[in-house]
Symmetry: C2
Subunit: 227 residues, 2 copies
């Protein structure tokens, strides 16, 4: 059956709340995000918000999922499947960094310290995987076109990377070399480390030109994974 009028207005108000919360998040950061302030901005009593989100953590979870989705969308939009693998790789990395710089507090919410007593629900996993999927597709396409170094053919006794992650990182390619999987996951961690270092201020005074440093670093990582 179609949504009733009640359900529609409820969904609208829920969207308004998340929108206001996202504004707050962008302004003051996750730690200072206050349910009461969101309610004030919306002109309603703070207690009324609890009809829509059982707790502040649930509101944050909503923002986390939306953030992963927005980041994933940015990465997907930046990938041009017709370009050369190495350029695709760097372009996606640039897009991730660009999104992070445009939304620093959201990025910090996604990849910074987890909030105090908060354990990421499983809902966030598929959204969080989107960037990995894009990176994996670049790798998989490169492997299919033979641009990746040859498979050694000597599998280790036990793989370091789980099968699901290997599938994502392989981008549909059936059997990426275990070393490539490892390097792909390492590169993804390194992308995250590089962006976080820059955003969280650990690079101030160390890097002269952040843009050029990032491009050079991503080129190194592309070389590491074999692109």
């Amino acid at each position: 059956m179609p949504p009733t009028a009640r359900e529609r207005v409820r969904a609208e108000l829920t969207a308004e709340i998340t929108a206001a919360a996202r504004r707050q998040l962008a302004e003051v950061g996750a730690a200072a995000l206050s349910l009461r302030a969101v309610a004030r901005e919306l002109g309603m009593a703070s207690s009324a918000l609890y009809r829509y989100f059982p707790s502040r953590d649930d509101l944050l979870t909503r923002l986390i999922i939306d953030g992963y989705d927005a980041l994933g969308a940015a990465a997907e939009a930046a990938d041009d499947p017709t370009a050369a693998p190495r350029e695709r790789w760097v372009a996606v990395c640039r897009a991730v960094r660009g999104w992070a710089r445009a939304h620093p507090h959201e990025y910090a919410l996604l990849y910074g310290s987890p909030v105090p007593g908060y354990a990421a629900p499983r809902d966030t996993v598929p959204a969080a995987a989107r960037v990995g999927v894009v990176l994996g597709r670049v790798l998989g396409d490169a492997a299919r076109s033979g641009a990746l170094p040859a498979v050694t053919g000597v599998p280790r006794d036990r793989s370091l990377i789980s099968d699901e992650t290997a599938a994502v990182l392989g981008g549909g390619h059936p059997a990426l070399d275990d070393a490539v999987r490892l390097r792909a996951l390492l590169a993804w961690s390194s992308l995250y480390g590089t962006i976080s270092f820059e955003l969280f201020g650990h690079l101030v005074g160390s890097v002269e030109d952040a843009d050029r440093y990032f491009d050079a670093a991503m080129a190194e990582l592309a070389g590491l994974v074999g692109l």
Copy 2:
């Protein structure tokens, strides 16, 4: 002149406060660290704490500096200058990860999202650099012994890495190749990214054996910098 009795007892109480705060930090994390709870643990009025720390952020700053120092000490202790460069590199990385796993909340305070309105004072810089110094010394020693790839000798028009950081990363070696400097900084970012991913739960389900994955990843990074 020697410290007066007043100064001594003041220093002692300050130490007790930071110790209690460090316990709180280890238990509940930085975001939930409460000045009032520290005061309760010490059996004093919360207002009395402000005689010793002007604000919660100042107490946090103290903990941050101590954390950097402890981490730096762990890294220094793990470095055996008589070992082979590659083993030294991996050993230091292992030590950093070990400290991070033993003190997850402190690590998150150091390298996670910066706290809301908090801007890291300059006091934290020297303490924060200690790990970099250790890593740089490994690199510099390797370069001096000729274990690092030959310098290309073609400097870029402008260095990406600042002179001070290049000096630290060079570990006293006069002229490390610019590419090596870049890779060293990238490797340091990657070490941080790898540990953070593991600690913040972004690797759950992706990595089968965290210990083996970390060792393999650090070996890759060692190869990247030329060790």
